[in-house]
Each structure stands twice: as C-alpha cells, then as structure tokens.
C-alpha cells in the first residue's frame, strides 16, 4: 500500500497528536479536555476519540462558558458530547461574577474574555485537574509560537515564558507537584489550513456559523460584530445585513465575522488558502489591546 513508507503531513500531525494524548492518559491522574465547540477543539475531540478507540475517551471535557457564546455553538457542543458519551463540565463566568470572584467590565468594549481566566483556574482547582488539553496552535500568535507542547503552570496557574522546560524528541516531562498543572497542546504544529484539511478529510461536523450565512452585523475597529444582547452598540455603529462566516469561534462580544460566500468546506479551504490576514488578526478584538496581549493573558493562566 505504501511502498515508499511516505506519510502525508496530516498523517504525521495526527500521529503526533495521538501520541501526546495517550501520553497524558498514561501519566496523569485527572486530565480533562477543553472543548468550546470551535473548530480546533472539534479536531482535538475527534483525535481523542481515535486515540482510545474502541474504548471511550478516558477523561471528561470542560467548557468555560462566558454566557456570551453563540447559541448554535452551544447546541453543537451538547450534541457532540452526548454522542461520545463523555462527561461535560461547564465552568460558568456568570457564576464567578455572582460569587464575587470577578467584576463584570463595563462600557462599550466590555468583554468577559479576560474574566474567563479566573473561572478556568477556579474550575481546575475545584476539579483537581492535573492536565488540560487545549486546542491552541503555534501558528496563531507569536507568544503561542514559543510555547511547549506540555506547558507547565505553577500553583497560581501562571505561565513563565522565560523558564520553560526543555522539550526534546517526543519525550515529555509530566512531573508536577500537587496544585500545579500542565496545559497540553496536541495541535501545536498544525496550521489553520491543516485543521480545515483535516475536517474535510475526516468529514467532521462543525457548527453552521463557520459557513456563509445572512446576519445582522455592525462594524467596530474594522471587525464585523454580530448584533447581540451582550454588547453596547454606539449610535455611530449602525446595523446592516451581510453575508458572513466565522473564521474563529469565541465570545459574541469580541469575535468578528468575515465577509464570505463560502458555503462548503471546500470553499472555506479555498478562502483560507488565499487569505492574506491571520485568523486572530481578522477576527479577534481581544488580541488588539497591546503588542503582547496574548503573552500577558497567558502568563495569568489564560488558555
């Protein structure tokens, strides 16, 4: 079948990600997988399903719910989790606000993006998780380009980018003390295009908002934001109807849509291959705060 013993790039990336997942299942006591219903976590969950088949996925999935998610995505999340028979833990930012752990931001640029970190770290502590799979990729952002596959977090959940554990070959140091944890990124070496190619090859289902649809939107700082009850729209930000799709899926308050007529995976891939703008640059308000916005949030314990 493979006389030259060649593997495609997707086969190599899949083999690497599955190795990582099995390593976590073998070496940690209480791992969990962060699942948002976005495309990267959909791929990650599909890889977990494959890694342990015919057994069930040997860890629960967790969603940090800001309360500002797209309803289509939450519906998809619940259906997918039910299909797999895995346990879903929802950590709610609203609960953190109600409990006085965090204070809701106010004003026009109010977002729960940054508040998620506290909810996430509280949930990790409460559930005593020692390893958490995240779908982050190194091609997404320059601070992420520096991060290890197995990324150590101290007992405050903090990342110390200047003092990362050397990571050689496929040997991962999984040793931690109680209270510390490891963030594990099986898709580290995947690019946005690899993720889409894999979704196409494996015929993975994704939420409908990834495909072109009609939506009421308004423009802010060059982003097309969906009309939604969680964001204060100014008088200078009129609503209009546009044919858009989402390139990333996050909070409704800070995730922008892109103008698109791509109605199929093949059309989305063609657009992604041709685009001249990064996905976070095109769609995320949360990265625009400063040059090092992602590094700063990651240091605090963000995804």
């Amino acid at each position: 079948m493979r006389a030259d013993y060649q593997l495609s790039q997707l086969d190599v990336l899949e083999a690497e990600a599955i190795h990582v997942m099995r390593e976590v299942a073998a070496e940690f006591e209480r791992p969990a997988l962060l699942f948002s219903g976005g495309k990267d976590s959909i791929v990650m969950l599909a890889l977990a399903e494959k890694a342990f088949w015919p057994a069930r996925i040997p860890f629960p999935v967790m969603h940090v719910d800001t309360g500002h998610n797209f309803p289509e995505v939450l519906e998809f999340r619940d259906r997918r989790v039910a299909e797999l028979g895995v346990r879903l833990i929802v950590a709610s930012v609203q609960d953190s606000i109600d409990a006085g752990r965090v204070t809701e931001e106010t004003g026009r640029h109010a977002s729960r993006n940054r508040l998620q970190t506290v909810t996430l770290l509280d949930a990790i502590e409460e559930q005593r998780f020692d390893a958490l799979f995240g779908g982050a990729r190194r091609d997404e952002e320059k601070a992420r380009a520096k991060e290890r596959v197995f990324s150590f977090r101290d007992d405050f959940g903090q990342w110390d980018p200047k003092n990362q554990r050397p990571e050689l070959w496929n040997l991962y140091n999984t040793r931690i003390r109680r209270g510390e944890h490891i963030r594990v990124f099986p898709l580290s070496n995947w690019t946005e295009l690899d993720v889409w190619d894999y979704i196409a090859r494996e015929r993975l289902e994704i939420p409908a908002i990834y495909f072109a649809h009609e939506r009421q939107v308004f423009e802010r700082d060059g982003l097309l934001l969906a009309d939604n009850p969680y964001v204060q729209r100014g008088e200078d930000e009129p609503l209009f109807s546009a044919t858009v799709r989402y390139r990333t899926v996050g909070d409704m308050t800070c995730t922008g849509a892109v103008s698109s007529s791509a109605a199929t995976i093949a059309e989305v891939i063609a657009e992604v291959a041709a685009t001249r703008i990064t996905e976070r640059g095109q769609t995320r308000a949360d990265d625009r705060t400063s040059e090092a916005a992602m590094e700063d949030r990651k240091r605090e314990g963000y995804f």
Binding site: K142, L168, R177, S188, T275, T278, G281, A292
Partner: protein, 424 residues
C-alpha cells in the same frame, strides 16, 4: 505532501531572522496584518528598516533585548512540502534551546556571515547539530552582496567548513551562497552569482530526500498505553486488549513473529490498527512515526514501558549506559554521584551518574578529561547506572530509542538530555 522539520542556527547578526523572514515572505506565508504590526513597531522604535526579527521574537523580553531567547516554531508550505522551522537562538547561553530545536529536526541550516567567515559560533552550531544527529546540514554563507558576490570568498569558507566537518560525523552537507536581504539564492537562483551552479536554499529544502532517514530495519515498538474497553455489555469488546504506541523503528505487519521485553516471550501480531472512530481500522503495516495499536495472538502480560521487537533483532536491555549528555540546568550542576530521573521512550526509571569521562568544549571540540562537573549548557561524556533496565539502541542507530531526558527529582525540572553511545 510530506513535512520537513528544519532548525536554523545563527545569531541576528548573521541575518538569520532576515533569512527566515525572506523564506516566509517569498513563500507568501507572512500575513498582511503581521507585516503591518512589524512595520508599525519598527517605526515606533525609530528603526529605519522593517525589522523582520520582530516576526519571530515573540516574547516581550526578546523584543526588549533584541535577541532570541527561546525556540520559536514557524510554519510555511510550498506546493511540494510543509515546513516546520525551529528558529533557535545562537548565543552560547541558550545552547539548551538550540539542542531542543535540533532534537526533532531533519535538517539544520547553519548561517555564517560571508565577511567574517567561520566563527566559534558556527563551529558550535555545527557540532550541536551533529551531536543531535540532524541528518542533513546546509551551510548558508550569507551577506554575499557585501563581498561583491565573489566566488573565492564562498569557496574558501566552504573549504574551511568542510575541513572542520570532517572531524564531525555529518551525513549530508550542502553549501549555498545567499543574500537574505536581497533574496539571492533564497527562493530563486541568483543572477548575481553565475559561478554557483547549485540549487537555491528553498529548492534544496523542497527536494532533500528524508524518507530514508528513519530506521525501517530494526523493529522497535515502545508500548505507550494499553487499550482495554472493559465493556461488559459488548461481547466483541470484552476481551479486547490493544497495545498502543508510536512506531520507533522498523515495519510491523500482521503475521510477524515478535518478541516482548522484558519477558522474552514470543508471539505473533494478529492485527495492526490505525486510530479510527469509524469501525474498520485494520491496516496492512505500520512504520515510523505512525501511532497505532497492535493486537497480539497470545495473552502476554504487557504494560506501558515494555518493548515489542523481533526475536532476532533486539535492543540492548541495559542498566549501564554510556552517553553524551547536555546539561540544561542553571540551578544545579552535574557531578559523579548525581541522582536523577531518566525518561526513555515510555519508561521512567531512577539513575545515578557513575562517571564523568570528559567535558567537551563545544567551540573547539577539545576534550577536558580533568572536568569534575557539568554546568548549564555544557556537554560531556558520562556513564549512568539505572535502577531498572531500559530497552535502547545507540542514538546513531535510532534517535527515539537512543535518546533520553533527565529530570530533577525534587524540582521536577528537565535538567538534561542524553544521547546513548553504548549500552550494556
């Protein structure tokens, strides 16, 4: 389309960041918003050119100090290949990060400045790439524009490097004269150097043959995880026991007779399964670096950390190991009698350093046999005694079964990496 992983070594002064920027830019892998951000920052900092190093230096401290501290991974693709660049720091104080980047590389690009010729740093980079057994090396003689594209400058640097390389064990060495700033011989052949008849750097990266770098002879399957569905309700799955792992060497097929270590029992492969969520998953064979599940004929007691190989081709079952070791800790030194944790394939054991034979000067290759310790970023030849055996091969034969990491038992930090030379 396959993947080539390559590491770049050299300092900002050698034009490494410019070269990477050029590869990314000319292969249309830099996005408009990234370039805008870099241009804006360059302008704000009062620099009169677009500083492409800002693309790769992602950490605040790196931007402030203008140096690369840690490995950054970059991705680009051409119609022929997908590339993963491990962009590694050139300064000696970040040797451990260069070692990290080189450990998985298929190819290393060592940069030199044509005006300065070979430096201590270029020799060190070549040595470390060889130590990590990166199978292919390219010496990129950069800034050819500043020496008027002269053939004799390129030839004399190439000859000097070839003489140095003869003392190392480099499998495949290629020389390319480039100007990263102007793009000569980076993506396209340069009209400024008609005397050079070799390929451009990118052409070489696209065509270098890496499929045979893997060991497809010695069957090595470290058992990583045992899959047992324990589904009492499903009769078909009730007795399922699959041995999951990533193939480290050789080709495994159903019907092959295999030997299990440490027990020494032989059995036969009943099936090879690819990861799948859709039922039929049997595949005719498995080879590196596939992650697969093996089904065996006999009910042998097999667990994580064990090894599956062929009866007539076994790894060493070793408790005493000779190795080249790179020390990576600034908090602790390595001395004879140091106690450490060793992680090798899927096995973790305790170890004691029984001997430090010599320290090697990574710049001159001089061996100092009077050395009594290794400090951060130092490399030496050691002997380790393990509390339990590992199933290993010389690193030169297999990078997976020949490599190990060392962990400090009290801090849990990764403090070293070692390449096995002999095992008994």
């Amino acid at each position: 389309m396959d993947i080539l992983r390559f590491a770049t070594a050299g300092s900002v002064d050698d034009g490494k960041s410019t070269l990477i920027g050029r590869l990314l830019y000319d292969s249309k892998s830099i996005f408009a918003d990234q370039l805008e951000a870099v241009e804006r920052t360059s302008r704000d900092r009062g620099e009169d050119y677009t500083n492409l190093a800002l693309l790769t230096d992602g950490l605040r401290a790196e931007r402030e100090q203008g140096i690369t501290i840690d490995v950054a991974y970059r991705y680009f693709a051409t119609p022929r290949r997908k590339f993963i660049i491990a962009d590694t720091p050139g300064h000696i104080q970040y040797t451990r990060n260069m070692v990290t980047g080189a450990s998985t590389a298929d190819l290393a690009v060592v940069l030199v400045d044509a005006r300065n010729g070979l430096t201590e740093q270029s020799r060190r980079h070549a040595f470390l790439a060889t130590l990590l057994r990166v199978p292919h090396m390219v010496l990129a003689v950069n800034k050819m524009d500043l020496v008027d594209y002269r053939a004799d400058v390129f030839e004399s640097i190439s000859e000097e490097f070839a003489a140095f390389a003869a003392r190392l064990d480099i499998g495949d060495l290629t020389f390319v004269p480039v100007s990263a700033l102007h793009g000569d011989n980076v993506v396209d052949r340069s009209a400024n150097m008609p005397w050079y008849d070799g390929p451009s750097l990118l052409h070489h990266l696209e065509h270098v043959h890496i499929a045979s770098d893997r060991n497809l002879i010695d069957v090595r399957f470290p058992v990583q995880y045992v899959i047992r569905p324990q589904a009492a309700t499903d009769a078909a799955l009730h007795d399922y026991r699959g041995y999951a792992g990533q193939v480290a060497g050789g080709v495994l097929k159903p019907g092959d007779e295999v030997l299990h270590l440490p027990s020494g029992f032989t059995t036969t492969i009943r099936g090879v399964e690819a990861p799948s969520s859709r039922g039929a998953t049997a595949i005719p064979e498995a080879f590196p670096p596939m992650s697969v599940t093996l089904l065996l004929d006999d009910d042998v007691d097999i667990s994580r950390g064990d090894m599956i190989c062929r009866p007539n081709n076994r790894p060493a079952v070793a408790q005493d190991i000779e190795a080249m070791l790179c020390w990576m800790s600034s908090d602790r030194v390595l001395t004879p009698r140091s106690r450490l944790i060793v992680k090798h394939t899927s096995r973790t054991v305790k170890a004691i350093v029984t001997d430090l034979h010599y320290r090697i000067d990574v710049n001159t290759l001089h061996r100092d046999e009077s050395a009594t310790q290794l400090t951060l970023n130092e490399v030496g030849r050691v002997r380790l005694r393990l509390t339990q055996p590992v199933f290993c091969d010389p690193y030169a034969r297999n990078r997976t079964t020949g490599g190990l990491i060392l962990i400090d038992e009290s801090t849990n930090a990764t403090v070293g990496a070692a390449m096995i030379t002999e095992a008994t």
